[in-house]
């Protein structure tokens, strides 16, 4: 049935359906409407899988990756534009994008290099606290965002030695310990506001005040539009970086290290170097996302960066599909939006995510959007 349409047209149609669905879905208030729409989406996704939509979209992305990314970007901006006047949906969209960015960072560590990092929320928090401290003392946003990433990476260096020296479960335990330590450290430390946390001033980018409501085409938008757009830019940059990393010799070396350290060493790949590189780069991305998240929330507190939050980030990576950048965005959207829309499950969300993770590992270990065989360049070499 789809054979008469070009793969690119299928991708455009799929994006259109997705955007309309997302806009309508976020309108819904009642639990019944939300649950019916989730059920409809599940059936539609199953049906789309049956008639080969994913293969065709992937094919379109292989032939014309720039075009498919552009469609996705336009789709994302369309959803943001549809809610330009509403605080709450914009905050939610920006959170989805920042969580997706964190998942992209974790994906470098976990999906490519095989380093399990259960301290994602801690590095996210380091970024947020960095901007709390810096924005308050008048450092411009252009600097505070990269510095958030830099500090996350620097403090992450404390963990490099144990994480790189130990293998598998032991490395995971080290990151769990760090995650718990981080929250306790913040709670007892007065410079960082103790358990109450710190207020974060509004961001200012070259005179563009993020606390002001922008006026577009005569409509006064919510000031969260600023943050949603900034989150969009950061997500787009992180996505491009991860995509390029995956499709390069560096990404290949990380895969080789994850799949077979001994084999990789016998072909000259520096195991430690590869792991340190992945760990640091991942933490930089997570820290930058955290720095923007701090500004957007307006305050930072230890309770936002707990071990449970780290587990949510790992759940996003598993749900989306390890190594699959598109999967990170889809999974972040599901994990952030669903509990917000379904107030009934809000309290049980950790329980639900645990069940989802177990189900994924049992029945679909490669995630919702499984990673595909690496192609370095569009139609490369054939």
């Amino acid at each position: 049935m789809l054979d008469r349409i070009s793969p690119f047209a299928v991708a455009v149609l799929a994006a259109l359906v997705g955007v309309v669905f997302a806009i309508v879905f976020m309108e819904q208030e009642s639990d019944v409407a939300v649950i019916s729409m989730v059920a409809a989406a599940a059936v539609a996704a199953w049906f789309a899988g049956r008639i080969g939509v994913p293969e065709r979209v992937a094919r379109a992305a292989e032939i014309n990756p720039g075009g498919v990314s552009a469609i996705a970007a336009i789709g994302g901006l369309a959803i943001i534009a549809a809610y330009a006047e509403d605080h709450f949906p914009l905050l939610m969209l920006a959170t989805v994008m920042l969580y997706a960015t964190v998942a992209l960072g974790l994906n470098i560590q976990f999906g490519y290099a095989g380093l399990v990092n259960f301290a994602g929320a801690a590095f996210f928090g380091i970024g947020a606290y960095t901007s709390a401290k810096l924005v308050g003392s008048g450092v411009p946003a252009v600097l505070s965002l990269p510095l958030g990433g830099l500090f996350a990476a620097l403090i992450g260096l404390l963990l490099v030695f144990p994480v790189v020296r130990t293998r598998g479960h032991y490395a995971a335990v080290v990151t769990i310990a760090f995650s718990v330590l981080f929250k306790t450290f913040l709670e007892v430390n007065d410079t960082f506001g103790g358990p109450q946390g710190l207020p974060v001033g509004a961001m200012n980018l070259f005179g563009w005040d993020f606390g002001e409501s922008p006026t577009l085409f005569g409509i006064e938008a919510s000031f969260y539009l600023n943050y949603a757009l900034a989150a969009f830019v950061i997500l787009a940059l992180a996505f491009t970086l991860v995509r390029r990393l995956e499709r390069s010799w560096l990404g290949l070396a990380l895969d080789a290290v994850r799949l077979d350290e001994t084999g990789a060493a016998c072909y000259g790949i520096g195991i430690r170097r590869a792991k340190i590189f992945a760990f640091v780069l991942g933490n930089v991305i997570i820290g930058v996302a955290g720095a923007l998240y701090g500004c957007m929330q307006g305050y930072v507190a230890p309770t936002s960066f707990t071990f449970s939050d780290s587990l949510i980030f790992v759940a996003i990576v598993l749900l989306g599909g390890m190594g699959s950048p598109w999967g990170m965005i889809l999974a972040a959207a599901i994990v952030v939006v669903l509990p917000e829309k379904l107030q009934a499950i809000q309290e049980y969300r950790f329980l639900l995510f645990s069940i989802v993770v177990i189900a994924i590992l049992l029945f679909r270990p490669s995630g919702l959007l499984p990673r595909r065989v690496r192609r370095y360049f569009p139609e490369g070499g054939r």
């Binding site: 990393l245 010799w249 560096l250 290949l252 799949l259 084999g263 016998c266 790949i269 490369g380 070499g381």
Partner: protein, 259 residues
């Protein structure tokens, strides 16, 4: 030892707890030679390979390769010096493509710079295209059909194709010395024969590559090796042409037990 020797092992020893896996083992391999390394199970053949490639540090002795001391070197340094190996049990990355697996072997010749890989996509593309053409050519020497499917994942391929890809992965970086650890494992007699013919013809094209071959199939050893070294309980018990070692009393006892 004489200057035309590519590799010298002198009195190499390796113990695991109380087990002497290698005890004072010395042998040499000349340039362009094919050396068969044989012996019963557990005689120290794979351990020799693991010491040679830096996976195990030897307890004593010396490894000299191409004039440089490689005793106790890291696996990465051994690879850079020009020694590549295959493994007894296939170590291909099954979820990666054929091309990816071969490029793992090409690691040292590909530009691993951060800027080059992430931001200089044009230069990367040129390098990629050249590497792809080279990999395709190499694979085609073994199997022309396989050369058209370099972007297929390795997991679906039969054993003989996987062996071929493993050997291509070892050959792509143009090593001076190739270590083949039981290439016949898991394959039928005919497949092994075919694979050895492929290796010999590729070797001729590459201009006299030096090979050390660990193998249980004596037919293979007889056919391809110039010289054999026989190990038993971690010690060298014989050395010479296949005919010489096959008629050696100690070797016969090692394989069949003493009468």
């Amino acid at each position: 030892m004489s200057a035309e020797m590519l590799l010298d092992l002198e009195g190499v020893a390796k113990s695991f707890g109380g087990v002497r896996a290698l005890n004072d083992v010395s042998f040499s391999v000349g340039r362009g030679e094919i050396l068969g390394l044989i012996g019963p199970n557990g005689s120290g053949k794979t351990t020799s390979f693991n010491v040679l490639t830096g996976l195990y540090k030897p307890d004593g002795g010396k490894v000299v390769f191409d004039g440089a001391d490689l005793t106790g070197a890291t696996p990465q340094a051994v690879y850079r010096a020009g020694i590549a190996r295959t493994f007894q049990r296939s170590r291909l990355c099954l979820e990666l493509s054929i091309f990816d697996n071969i490029m793992v072997g090409n690691h040292g010749r590909l530009n691993q710079g951060l800027w080059h890989n992430l931001f200089a996509r044009k230069a990367l593309k040129a390098e990629h295209d050249a590497a792809f053409a080279e990999a395709r050519e190499l694979v085609a020497l073994f199997s022309p059909a396989l050369a058209d499917t370099l972007y297929e994942s390795v997991g679906a391929l039969p054993m003989i194709e996987r062996r071929r890809i493993e050997i291509c992965r070892a050959l792509i970086a143009r090593p001076k010395l190739l270590l083949l650890d039981e290439p016949s494992a898991g394959m039928t007699h005919d497949e092994t024969h075919q694979l050895m013919s492929d290796i010999l013809s590729v070797r001729d094209r590459l201009g006299g590559l030096t090979i050390i071959l660990v193998e249980h199939e004596m037919g293979v050893i007889e056919r391809v090796s110039d010289r054999c070294v026989v190990l038993n309980y971690g010690e060298k018990i014989a050395e010479g042409t296949y005919q010489e070692v096959a008629s050696d009393r100690l070797v016969q006892e090692a394989y069949l037990g003493s009468a």
